[in-house]
Each structure stands twice: as structure tokens, then as C-alpha cells.
């Protein structure tokens, strides 16, 4: 008639996974030593009147499974007891529902109690996942099978609901992807309009015949921004010159029209070669100087010996600037033309000899790198950068006058900037083209009338102006970049440390 010590472990057995299980077992081990042998048994102990007091041996007794309970019957044959409502067989009334034993363990219950339990498990607010709820015996974790009339409609609705829940994620992805594609499409569309102007664009895209854009363009437009971005990577250097060959191979024979001014597609096909030529020019002429100027503002690169703090400040500034420059330089390398050669030449006039400064600068930096790694920790972030550039030159080209900046892979810092530059570039080109139209003499930019004597020119189409404008922009920007580098290198020699001003009581940092 008493509740016995070994019964105390039942909660932990029933709830093997619950947090308290392990600790409660530990506790019992220390606090109730007399029941140690049955401690870890997963078998439910029974409060059999004769044996449980002394013997720790678990004794299977089906009816007594659930709880420590009052021994209402001293006999071996005990009435079944519902583990849900705790009523036993003796209390059954004619209206009580039937007894069920749904699982291998000895838990039995009224059918109506079980059905309540199952309904609670199935209630939507109690469920964690979208799948069908797990209906299992809380004691032995065996699945409780429920036979129910099948309704095709109900099951169909459930299946649809589950499927809908499962499709949320894929649907989100599809929507996002669709948004991106649409965005690319719109960008491509506006690019065509910007570069060619409304009339030519409509003729090209076929929007004037009211059936919408012809399908070839509809597929191709989204690739315009992608191609713009791809053209910024250095892989494009290898790939781009090949593409025009396909163009010439496919359209060459049918081309009628005069050779000058070149058609729009012809111009586009030639651009990669112009780009390659400009890059080559830049590498040979401008890059070495640029390199030298960059070296000059490295710490201890010149004759200048500043104090430690000064140098670090300066270097941090340089690092930041370099990062910016790389990003900008990558934007540059897309288009250029012959006039670039004359345009840039004046900017790169500072050093007398082309090879000299670059060679010296590089050697010097190579010597310094081991030293720089040691003294200041702040340097470490920057130094590998320089080294990587140097490696790149020596391994890939063996030409010391190669431009390190050009070869740089897109790094994390410049990626968003590069993409932005690529996407905005058509607009810039169009704007430059519009400027050209204003700036240039009228006869250059208006198509010749039937009676005019001057010949048709490249700049007379909006497309031509846009292309030339874009090239001009690239060249101007490079020039500006080079000039600022040059200025920076020059000013570097003239910087000085400002003395502490006692009157103002504030410390002035390093200035140029």
C-alpha cells in the first residue's frame, strides 16, 4: 500500500530525452543508494506488493505500468487502467468506451481517451513541422496506428496544404531569380535605348511593328548587363578578341552598305580589339610610371625617413587609396580607341626614362618586404598585397614594366564597385555622347542632307557618339587617376609633421 523508492525513477524513464533525466538519475544514485541496481534500467519498475520493497528486479506486470498507484487489488490479476484518465476497468460503465492497447508496451487506455490524446497531437497549434504529426506512445515511442475513414477530398486538401508549405522556399528563389532577370532585361533595354537613341533602338528591337520585341532580342537583352560585368574581369581579355571573329564569320558576306561610317554591329565587334590595344598601351607606357609613383608613397620608399607613427598613418591612407584605385582601374579597361594614345601620353610625362624608375621601385620594395613584415603589425595587411602583385608580374610576364593593377583578380573590396561601374557605364557613355553633340561643330554631328557635300561621319549617329563618348570617358578617367597618383607621389616628398601647438592644446597629426 505504500509508494516505494524504486518507483521514483519512472518519470525519467518515461521521458528519456528530457533535460532532467540525466541529472535526476545522478541524483538518485547519490541520494537513494538502496535502489542502485535498478537505477539505469529502462524497464519500468512495478510496485508489486511482495517483491518491489526488497528486490530491485523489475517485474513486468502489464496492468500496473503507468504510475505508482494505490494497490486497490492485492491479487495478481489487476484490472486494466487507462493511462490517460487513470480510471481502471472496475469503474467502467456501460457508456465507457472500449479498451485499446495500441503499442507493444503495456499501456492501455480507453479508446475515447486515446482519441482525445491523438486529436491534441494533431491540433495545428501544437505542431512543430508541416508534416503529419508523430502519433506515438509516450512510453515506448511506438507508433500508434489509427484507422480512420478515408476521404479523398480531405486528404487531397491536406496534401495540397503540405505541398504549398513545402514550396515556399523554392517559390521565393524563383521569385528572386525572376526579379533579377527582369532587372537585367530592363537594364539591357535601357542600354540599347541610351546608346542608340529612340529611333534606332526601336528599329533594332522591332518595337515599332506593334507585335512587341522580336524574340531574339527578348532573350538577348538580359545578357547585356551580365556581359558588361563579365567584361570587367580579366578573363574577358582572353575571351573578347575571339568573339568578333564569330561575328565576321557569320555576317561578313551579307554586309552591304558602305565601309565608312561603320555600322553599329561592326563597331561593337571591333571594340574588343581597341580595348586590347589600349590595355597594351597602358601597360607599356603608363603602368610603369604609375607603379613607380605608388612605390614612392610606400613607407621608406623614398629618401624620406619619417617617424614611426607618421609612417603608419600614411600607410593606412595609402592602403585605402590603393583599394579604391584598383576598383576604379578595373572599370577602366573596357573600351578605348586610337585617340587614347595621344590623350594619355602627356599625362605620363614625369619620369624621364620609362624603365628606370619602375625597376628601381620594384627592387627596392622587394628588399624592403622582409623588413616591413617585422617591425609594425599594422603593415602586415598591406605588405602581402604588394608582394602578390610582384609575384604576379614575375611569374606571368617576366616583364618588369607590366602593370600590376591590371592583373589583379577582383578582390572583395572592389567587387560591388566594379559591378556598379559596369552597369552605369552605358549611361555614362550616352551622357558623354550627348555632351559631344553639344560640344562638337554642328556639321560633325548632324547627318548630311541629300545635297550636302560633306561625307557621312561616325559621330553623326547617336550610337557613334555614345561609343566615342564612352571611350573618351575611360581615357579621361585614366588620365585623372594617373595625374592624382603623380601628384600624390610628388606631394609625398613635401609632407611634414606638424609640431604640437601648446596654445591650441591640441595635437596635430601628420599632414602632407
Amino acid at each position: 500500500m505504500t509508494s516505494l523508492p524504486p518507483q521514483r525513477q519512472q518519470p525519467s524513464q518515461q521521458r528519456r530525452s528530457s533535460p532532467e533525466a540525466s541529472s535526476s538519475q545522478q541524483h538518485r544514485r547519490s541520494s537513494i543508494p538502496q535502489s542502485t541496481t535498478s537505477e539505469d534500467s529502462q524497464t519500468v519498475l512495478l510496485n508489486h506488493p511482495s517483491s518491489s520493497e526488497s528486490s530491485p528486479e523489475p517485474e513486468p506486470q502489464p496492468k500496473q505500468q503507468a504510475r505508482p498507484k494505490i494497490q486497490t487489488a492485492e491479487s495478481n490479476k489487476e484490472p486494466r487502467k487507462c493511462w490517460i484518465c487513470f480510471a481502471d476497468e472496475t469503474e467502467d460503465t456501460p457508456t465507457s468506451s472500449e479498451w485499446r492497447s495500441p503499442c507493444p508496451c503495456s499501456l492501455t487506455a480507453h479508446e475515447s481517451c486515446l482519441l482525445d490524446f491523438v486529436a491534441d497531437l494533431e491540433a495545428p497549434q501544437n505542431r512543430k513541422s508541416y508534416g503529419p504529426p508523430k502519433i506515438e506512445c509516450p512510453q515506448c515511442k511506438a507508433k500508434i496506428t489509427i484507422a480512420r475513414p478515408r476521404s479523398l477530398i480531405v486528404e487531397g486538401v491536406r496534401a495540397v496544404q503540405r505541398a504549398a508549405a513545402r514550396f515556399i522556399l523554392p517559390f521565393t528563389f524563383v521569385t528572386l531569380a525572376g526579379t533579377v532577370v527582369t532587372g537585367c532585361w530592363v537594364h539591357g533595354f535601357s542600354t540599347i535605348y541610351l546608346l542608340f537613341g529612340p529611333e534606332d533602338a526601336e528599329r533594332l528591337l522591332g518595337t515599332d511593328n506593334a507585335v512587341g520585341i522580336n524574340s531574339r532580342w527578348a532573350l538577348g537583352l538580359p545578357f547585356i548587363p551580365l556581359a558588361l560585368i563579365a567584361a570587367r574581369t580579366r578573363y574577358a581579355d582572353n575571351l573578347l578578341p575571339i568573339l568578333p571573329i564569330f561575328y565576321f564569320a557569320s555576317t561578313g558576306p551579307q554586309r552591304d552598305g558602305p565601309l565608312w561610317p561603320p555600322s553599329a554591329s561592326m563597331t561593337v565587334a571591333i571594340l574588343p580589339y581597341i580595348r586590347a590595344a589600349y590595355n597594351e598601351f597602358y601597360d607599356r607606357v603608363c603602368a610603369p610610371r604609375e607603379k613607380a609613383w605608388i612605390k614612392q608613397i610606400q613607407p621608406r620608399a623614398g629618401d624620406h625617413e619619417g617617424d614611426e607613427e607618421h609612417e603608419q598613418n600614411q600607410e593606412q591612407a595609402n592602403e585605402f587609396e590603393d583599394g579604391m584605385d584598383i576598383g576604379l582601374d578595373l572599370q577602366v579597361e573596357i573600351v578605348e580607341e586610337e585617340e587614347g594614345h595621344e590623350e594619355v601620353q602627356p599625362a605620363g610625362n614625369a619620369p624621364e626614362e620609362e624603365q628606370g624608375p619602375a625597376n628601381q621601385g620594384q627592387d627596392r620594395v622587394q628588399d624592403q618586404n622582409p623588413n616591413q613584415n617585422r617591425p609594425a603589425e599594422g603593415n602586415q595587411a598591406h605588405v602581402p598585397n604588394v608582394q602578390r602583385r610582384l609575384h604576379h608580374h614575375q611569374h606571368q610576364h617576366q616583364h618588369q614594366n607590366q602593370n600590376g593593377v591590371q592583373g589583379l583578380v577582383l578582390n572583395f573590396f572592389s567587387l560591388p564597385q566594379t559591378i556598379m561601374g559596369a552597369l552605369v557605364f552605358p549611361s555614362i557613355s550616352a551622357a558623354m555622347g550627348a555632351l559631344l553633340q553639344v560640344a562638337l561643330p554642328r556639321s560633325w554631328t548632324t547627318p548630311p542632307g541629300r545635297w550636302d557635300r560633306y561625307p557621312a561621319g561616325f559621330l553623326q549617329s547617336r550610337f557613334g557618339r555614345s561609343i566615342v563618348g564612352g571611350c573618351l570617358f575611360v581615357v579621361l578617367k585614366d588620365t585623372l587617376m594617373l595625374y592624382s597618383r603623380y601628384r600624390l607621389a610628388q606631394d609625398h616628398k613635401r609632407r611634414r609633421v606638424v609640431d604640437y601647438d601648446a596654445k591650441k592644446g591640441k595635437k596635430a597629426g601628420a599632414t602632407r
Partner: protein
């Protein structure tokens, strides 16, 4: 009806015998009961302390879990035990008492024993993280709070 019948059975059992460290206090009706628990071993955190538990039962008990909290009292002195899963307003974060962890095999006695062993196994003299904030803001009933049961060590 359902709950009443079952609670009646539990009450008969409880009034006859209870495990050591668990005492029946009052059961004025079948909606709210009070129990006392104390830790049996010499855990210094809870030594010589008795704690008052309040059980509230819904009409769906035992299908639904009871709401179990520690309550403070001045006479006799009852405090809220310090434990990383017990907030200072007496709300207990235990999966057993949540919708997911509860099952009808549990009963008042087994809940008391689980809480007893939860205290026994604890060595941390601390409240749950964010206790102050939770106590100040919480207006929900314990069983509506979405606890995340992640700690299986305590």
C-alpha cells in the same frame, strides 16, 4: 469532467502517499493545487529550503499540460529557487511542461519529482539569461511562452 475525474484519482493517491521531499499542501478544487518540494541531498543551493509549487489545470488536463510555477510566500517562507531555467517570477522553462514535451502519462507527482531532480542536479547559482527583462515584460501565461529547449545538461 474529464480532468475532474482524473484529478480526483490523482488526489486520492497523493493524499495517501508521496515520495520523500514532496508534500501536498492544498487542493481546494480541481483547478488549482499547491505542492511543496524540497531537495533531498545536500546541494548547498537549496539546502534546508522548501519551495511552493502551484499547479493550474485546464479542463483538458491531462491532454493539456498543467501550468506549473513556483510561488513566493512569506508565511511560511517560500522563495523561488535559483536555477538557470527558473525565472525569478517563478516561471519554469522545462520542456515537460510545454506542449511538445507534455504527455498524459505525466501527472502531478511526476512533475514534482522532475522539478525536484532538476533542482538537485543543478550546480549553477544563476538565473536564466535575460531574466530581468523577461520578468519585467512577460504578460503571457507560462504555457503560451515559446521556450526553446536546448540545454540538456541541466
Amino acid at each position: 469532467m474529464f480532468a475532474t475525474k482524473r484529478l480526483g484519482k490523482e488526489l486520492i493517491k497523493i493524499q495517501q502517499s508521496l515520495p520523500p521531499g514532496i508534500d501536498f499542501v492544498s487542493a481546494p478544487d480541481f483547478k488549482q493545487w499547491e505542492m511543496d518540494i524540497r531537495v533531498l541531498d545536500a546541494n548547498p543551493l537549496y539546502l534546508d529550503q522548501t519551495y511552493r509549487l502551484r499547479f493550474r489545470f485546464s479542463t483538458n488536463y491531462p491532454i493539456e499540460a498543467p501550468e506549473v510555477t513556483f510561488i513566493p510566500l512569506s508565511q511560511p517562507l517560500r522563495t523561488i529557487p535559483i536555477h538557470p531555467h527558473i525565472y525569478s517570477n517563478g516561471i519554469i522553462c522545462l520542456d515537460l511542461l510545454g506542449t511538445q514535451g507534455w504527455s498524459p502519462v505525466q501527472n502531478v507527482e511526476s512533475v514534482c519529482m522532475s522539478l525536484q531532480s532538476m533542482l538537485t542536479g543543478n550546480t549553477k547559482n544563476e538565473r536564466p539569461p535575460g531574466d530581468e527583462d523577461f520578468v519585467r515584460r512577460n504578460t503571457q501565461r507560462p504555457r503560451d511562452i515559446r521556450f526553446v529547449y536546448e540545454d540538456s545538461t541541466v
